[in-house]
C-alpha cells in the first residue's frame, strides 16, 4: 500500500483520524449519557488504550510480546508523581529523599516529561537485550524485567515509600489530557507502524528469512519500536498516577501486565486491534463486575469473593483465543477493515446484479 501511495503518511493520518473519531464518539456518548461511574471507567479505559497502543507499537510490529511494559508505566507514574506532589506531604512521606525531589513542585507536563525521560533512558539502556530475544524467551526475560522494577520500587523506601501507597498526587488528569495524549499516541504509533521501519519489521515478523533478505535490520528496527513504546507506556503511567491520586508498586505488577497484554493479543496485531482489545476487556470486566454486584443482592455476598471477576475474565480470554487466535481485527487497521467491508459489499452487489440480469 505504501508503495502505491506517494505520501504514505497521508493514509496514516487518515487512519488515525478515523480511529480517533470512533473513540471520540464513545467519549461523547459516555460524557453525555453516562453516570459518574461510567465516566471513571471511561477515563481508565482511555489510559489503558494509550498503554495498549504503546505496547502494540512494540509487540504488533515486532511479533514479540513484552511483559515488561508495566515497568515503564511505573517509571512514568512515580517520576511524574514525585515531582508534582506537595512538598509538605513529601516531607512527611519520604523525608529521606534527595532535596531536589522533596522540594520539587513542578507542573504536570514537565513532570510527565521527566517520568517519560527516565523510562526512555532505561529502555534505551536495556533494550538491546530484549530485541535479540524472541518468542517465549522474550516473554520470560521481560517478565524478569517487570519483577526487577517491582522489587526496586517496593524496596526503595526513601523514594517510593516501599510497598506502601504513595498518595497525595495532584489529580491533574482530565478528560482533555487523556483525549489529547491519546490522539498523539495514535498518530505517532500509526506513523511508526507505516514507516519503512515498521513495515520492514512486520514483514520480518511474518517471514524472518525473506524480511532479512530484503535488507531489514531487525534488531535496530525493534530497538526503535521498543524505546518509542516505553515512552508511550510512561505517559500512560503518569496519566494513571494523576488520575487515581495514589500509587503503589503492586499496581504495576502481574495484574496490570495481564490486562494490557490481553488487550493487545485479543485485539489483534494492529493499533485498531489494541483499541478493540481494550474496549472488549473493559466491557467484559465491567459486565462481570456488575453481575457480581447483582448476585450479592441475595444472602450470599459474592463481591466478598475477590478473584471471581479475574477468574472468569481469564477463562473468557482463553475461550476467545481458542475461537479467534488471530485476534478480533487480525492484522488490519480501521480504514483497511472499511475497505475490505466495502469491497465485499460491492462483490455481493455485483453478484446480485448479475443474478437479476439473468
Amino acid at each position: 500500500m505504501n508503495m502505491l501511495a506517494g505520501k504514505w503518511w497521508k493514509q496514516s493520518l487518515v487512519g488515525s483520524a478515523l480511529l480517533l473519531a470512533i473513540v471520540l464518539v464513545i467519549v461523547a456518548i459516555v460524557a453525555l449519557a453516562g453516570s459518574t461511574t461510567d465516566m471513571r471507567i471511561l477515563m481508565v479505559f482511555l489510559i489503558n488504550v494509550i498503554a495498549a497502543i504503546s505496547l502494540q507499537t512494540y509487540a504488533g510490529n515486532s511479533g514479540n510480546i513484552s511483559f515488561g511494559h508495566v515497568g515503564f508505566m511505573a517509571f512514568g507514574a512515580y517520576g511524574s508523581a514525585l515531582f508534582t506532589a506537595d512538598p509538605a506531604i513529601k516531607a512527611i512521606g519520604i523525608p529521606n529523599a534527595p532535596a531536589f525531589i522533596r522540594e520539587a513542585a513542578i507542573g504536570f507536563l514537565p513532570a510527565m516529561l521527566i517520568g517519560t525521560a527516565v523510562a526512555v533512558v532505561v529502555a534505551a539502556a536495556i533494550g538491546r537485550v530484549f530485541v535479540r530475544l524472541s518468542g517465549a524467551a522474550a516473554a520470560v526475560a521481560t517478565l524478569g524485567f517487570m519483577v526487577i522494577i517491582y522489587t526496586l520500587l517496593s524496596n526503595a523506601e526513601e523514594l517510593t515509600r516501599g510497598s506502601k501507597a504513595f498518595s497525595g498526587i495532584p489529580e491533574y488528569t482530565t478528560l482533555g489530557w487523556c483525549v489529547a495524549l491519546l490522539a498523539l499516541t495514535i498518530v505517532v504509533a500509526r506513523l511508526l507502524r507505516d514507516s519503512n521501519t515498521g513495515l520492514g519489521l512486520r514483514a520480518c515478523a511474518d517471514d524472518p528469512i525473506a524480511g532479512q533478505a530484503a535488507g531489514v535490520d531487525i534488531l535496530n528496527s525493534r530497538y526503535v519500536m521498543w524505546v518509542a513504546s516505553a515512552a508511550g507506556a510512561a505517559i500512560a503511567g503518569a496519566l494513571y498516577a494523576h488520575y487515581i491520586g495514589a500509587i503503589l508498586p503492586k499496581a504495576f505488577h502481574f495484574e496490570l501486565t495481564f490486562v494490557l497484554v490481553t488487550m493487545v493479543i485479543v485485539g489483534g496485531r494492529s493499533i485498531t486491534g489494541a483499541v478493540a482489545g481494550a474496549a472488549l476487556i473493559t466491557i467484559l470486566a465491567e459486565v462481570l463486575r456488575r453481575l457480581e454486584n447483582g448476585f450479592s443482592i441475595g444472602s450470599i455476598n459474592l463481591s466478598e469473593a475477590p478473584g471471581l471477576t479475574t477468574a472468569v475474565l481469564a477463562l473468557l480470554i482463553v475461550a476467545t483465543l481458542t475461537i479467534r487466535p488471530q485476534g478480533l481485527v487480525s492484522r488490519w487497521e480501521v480504514e483497511e477493515l472499511l475497505h475490505r467491508w466495502q469491497f465485499r459489499q460491492k462483490e455481493h452487489a455485483s453478484v446480485r446484479a448479475e443474478e437479476n440480469h439473468v
Partner: protein, 297 residues
C-alpha cells in the same frame, strides 16, 4: 572455609529446586513449544494439597503422594481443557493462553482459600540437622540434593530406555516424523504433561519444605526462576535447564554472600539483572539452543 562450604550446600539445594522446576518447564517447551506459565500453579496446587492433608492429620507419606498426584491431575486437566485445542496455534497465542490459565488458577485459589497465608504443618524431621566440625547441615538440604540427583538419573534412564521416553525425545526434535513411527500424538502430550506435573509436584514439596506457607500466588516466584533458568541455559533443552537452575542458584547464593545486607531485599532484582546481562551476550542461552518453530501435530 566452613561458611563457604555451607553456602555451597545451600546453593546446591536451592539449585536442585530450580533445576526441577526448570526441567518441568523445559519438557513441555521442547515437545509442545508451550511456555507453560501455569507451571507455578501446578506447584501451588501441590502446596495447598500438602496444607490440607497435613492439617487434617494425614501421615506425611500419604500427604506427599497426594500432593504429587494433585499436581499431575491438575496438569492433565490443563492439557485436556486448555491446551489440546490449541496444538496448532501460533506460539504467541499459546503463550497468552498459558498466561491466562495461570491467572485463572490463581483467582480460583484466591476464591477457595483466601489471600491469607496458610501455614503448612511440616513434620519435625524437616528441621533436623547434624554437625560436621563446626558446621551445621540440614538433613533437608541433603535430602533435596540426593533426591534431585536420583530424579535426574531416573529421568535420563526413562528417556533413553523406554519407547515412550525415546518418543518424547524424538518428538522434541521432529514431531511429524515421530507420528510417522506410529506413536500416538495424544500419548506424547499426556506423557509430557504427566512428567511435567510430577516434576512440579516434587519441586513444590521441596519448595514448601523450605518456605512452609502457601498463598494463591506462591507458585509465581519459583515458576519465574525456573523459566529464567531455562532461558539462560537454553530454552527447550533438558540438560541446559538443569545447568541453568544451578547457575541461577549459585548466582543467588553468591550475590547474597558477597553483597552487604542492605542489598538482600534486592537479591532477586540483582540475580535477574545478571541473567539479563548473560542474555545480552548469549541470546540463545549459554548453550545457544536453536529451535525451529515447526508445526506440532
Amino acid at each position: 572455609m566452613q561458611l563457604a562450604l555451607q553456602q555451597f550446600i545451600n546453593a546446591l539445594s536451592l539449585g536442585s529446586i530450580y533445576a526441577l522446576v526448570a526441567l518441568g518447564v523445559a519438557i513441555l517447551f521442547s515437545i509442545l513449544r508451550l511456555a507453560n506459565f501455569a507451571h507455578g500453579e501446578l506447584m501451588t496446587t501441590a502446596g495447598f494439597t500438602l496444607y490440607m492433608t497435613l492439617a487434617s492429620g494425614w501421615n506425611w507419606v500419604l500427604a506427599v503422594i497426594a500432593a504429587i498426584a494433585a499436581s499431575v491431575v491438575a496438569a492433565l486437566i490443563l492439557e485436556r481443557v486448555a491446551y489440546r485445542r490449541l496444538r496448532n496455534a501460533q506460539p504467541l497465542t499459546l503463550l497468552m493462553t498459558s498466561f491466562a490459565v495461570s491467572v485463572a488458577l490463581q483467582s480460583i485459589f484466591l476464591l477457595t482459600f483466601g489471600a491469607r497465608p496458610k501455614g503448612i504443618e511440616l513434620p519435625a524431621f524437616v528441621d533436623a540437622s547434624f554437625r560436621i566440625g563446626g558446621m551445621r547441615v540440614q538433613w533437608l538440604d541433603i535430602a533435596i540434593i540426593l533426591i534431585t540427583a536420583a530424579i535426574v538419573f531416573g529421568l535420563t534412564l526413562f528417556l533413553r530406555k523406554t519407547v515412550i521416553g525415546l518418543a518424547l525425545r524424538s518428538a522434541a526434535d521432529d514431531f511429524q516424523t515421530t507420528r510417522l513411527m506410529g506413536v500416538k500424538a495424544n500419548a506424547l502430550f499426556v506423557g509430557a504433561f504427566v512428567l511435567s506435573g510430577m516434576l512440579a509436584g516434587i519441586a513444590a514439596l521441596f519448595y514448601f519444605a523450605t518456605v512452609p506457607n502457601v498463598v494463591p500466588s506462591s507458585g509465581f516466584e519459583p515458576m519465574l526462576k525456573g523459566f529464567i533458568a531455562c532461558v539462560i541455559g537454553g530454552l527447550g533443552s533438558l540438560p541446559a535447564a538443569i545447568v541453568g537452575g544451578f547457575l541461577l542458584a549459585f548466582l543467588e547464593v553468591g550475590s547474597d554472600a558477597l553483597l552487604s545486607d542492605n542489598f538482600s531485599p534486592y537479591l532477586d532484582a540483582i540475580v535477574f539483572l545478571i541473567a539479563i546481562v548473560i542474555l545480552r551476550w548469549r541470546p540463545g542461552g549459554i548453550f545457544g539452543v536453536r529451535l525451529t518453530a515447526e508445526q506440532r501435530v
